[in-house]
Amino acid sequence: MSGFHCYDIFAIPMQAWFGQLLLGLINGAFYAMLSLGLAVIFGMLNVINFAHGAQYMMGAFAAWLLLGILDVPFWASLVLAPIIVGLFGVVLERLLLKRIYHLDHLYGFLLTFGLALVIEGLFQWKWGSSGAPYPSPIAGGWNLGFMYLPKYRGFVVVAALAICLATWFAIERTRLGAYLRAATENPTLVRAFGINVPRLITITYGVGVGLAALAGVLAAPIQQVSALMGTNLVLVVFAVVVIGGMGSIMGSIVTGFSLGLVEGLTKVCYPPGSNTVIFVVMALVLLVKPAGLFGQTK
């Protein structure tokens, strides 16, 4: 015990703990935003949107192209890119997804999986697979003593929290949200009350896809903008959704952030396990609570 410092736990310096916790929080912010969009889409459309990662990538690309071609600044892209990609989602829903709602989940999964491959393939063909950098819109950082935190990363965590809470509020506390919740339960009756449910579904998909794109724009200055940036991420996000419970809004927010932290902590304690820890948690949760931590069994 002679080498034990009062700031160290398990002989790991506090710097490492806090550093990884912050990184985990930033990753968690993206897990939360993406799993939130998936939960919104699944609740309303009954479709497991496997194209979510590709749509996240499209958001990053939209921002990168807007900057490169039209010189549109980051802050404008933060609004424009989700709208552009969201409209693309609306077209997908009208042309393809609406034809498969009456079929098993599996068809939605296969269709969106195929779409993801096509979209990512097209971007790879046009722009290659090596990433392009996106300049950080906020320069500088804070020296927190235990680590140097770039200001932009701090902004991402705050922005993600705000986006998540705003989405939660819109769904749980507004009239439109009540329509969504009701239509998730019994679309036929909601429609018989005079609400245009098919249009509500289209809007929901557009907004869900827009959320993925928004996360993509936020990720652009942190990661390289590349055709495959969403591929690996979406796998982790699906594990997050399974752990939180499919379709639960607050569940996906809480689980997203916490699993980011769990991953960060694992990176300190047992680095080789950091890539798999989320899937281990998923397996354990499935064993104990198959509907997920926040999911409701029907």
Binding site: A178, R181, T184, T188, L189, R191, A192, I195
Partner: protein
């Protein structure tokens, strides 16, 4: 009867492959309270659902205020001023009582205000923050009726509002239905409980095998009792 509010002619309906309605004909005048009577599986519920446009496929004619509704989606039919209270009540569990009440959009002026509805159903006000499905069966039925009174719809389709409820609640629902008629609502009521139906309705249509086979006015119920009992198998 001058111009009927609702006129159903030769209405046929299908669920998937099964042909349920084989040509239903009847009409309701403005302000009338009319019931559809018949045995289980006769096609009463399907008739309501077909008027609302929520069956698999429908053919024939359903005109409301002279406008044809067959061929239009249910959300447009609702906006003409027809409101539906389903047999299973359709209370949303993810919505509070008040959110359930406020869910159906107002389609026309002249509906009841939220205060009016709470005056009619005081229990609902007490429990407005509760989850909709946490209410008792009777309260859920009142919620299901209450929420369609706000919309300004002039025709109410009520599917077995007394099913599975205690006699005292059935009595209360009867009072409410009479009050609604006094307020000028036109009501099409599906009922298994003939004694209940007889106390509230102006006329009764008898449905059998997906067709309307007879009509009895309230005045004739007494002398037609034998015939009605034969139809209903009671």
């Amino acid at each position: 009867m001058v111009e009927p509010l609702l006129k159903v002619a030769g209405l046929q309906a299908w669920y998937g492959e099964s042909h349920i309605l084989h040509g239903v004909d009847f009409e309701i005048g403005r302000g009338e309270l009319v019931t559809l009577l018949g045995r289980n599986g006769a096609g009463k519920t399907t008739t309501l659902r077909a008027i609302m446009g929520i069956v698999g496929k429908r053919r024939g004619s359903v005109t409301f205020e002279g406008r044809e509704t067959v061929g239009h989606p249910s959300n447009q039919i609702a906006r003409l001023g027809i409101a539906y209270c389903p047999e299973e009540r359709g209370i949303f569990s993810s919505l509070s009582v008040e959110e359930n009440l406020l869910l159906p959009p107002v389609v026309k002026p002249g509906g009841l205000s939220l205060e009016d509805i709470y005056r009619l159903f005081p229990n609902l006000e007490e429990r407005r923050r509760s989850q909709g499905t946490k209410l008792s069966g009777g309260e859920q039925q009142m919620l299901a009726i209450g929420r369609i009174l706000r919309t300004g719809a002039s025709l109410l389709l009520l599917d077995e509002p007394t099913e599975g409820l205690a006699p005292v609640i059935v009595q209360r629902i009867g009072e409410i239905i009479r009050q609604l008629k006094e307020r000028g609502f036109t009501i099409l009521l599906v009922e298994q409980n003939f004694h209940f139906a007889a106390t509230v309705a102006d006329r009764h249509y008898v449905v059998e095998d997906g067709r309307v086979i007879d009509m009895v006015t309230a005045a004739d119920v007494k002398q037609s009792l034998g015939k009605l009992q034969a139809y209903l198998g009671v």
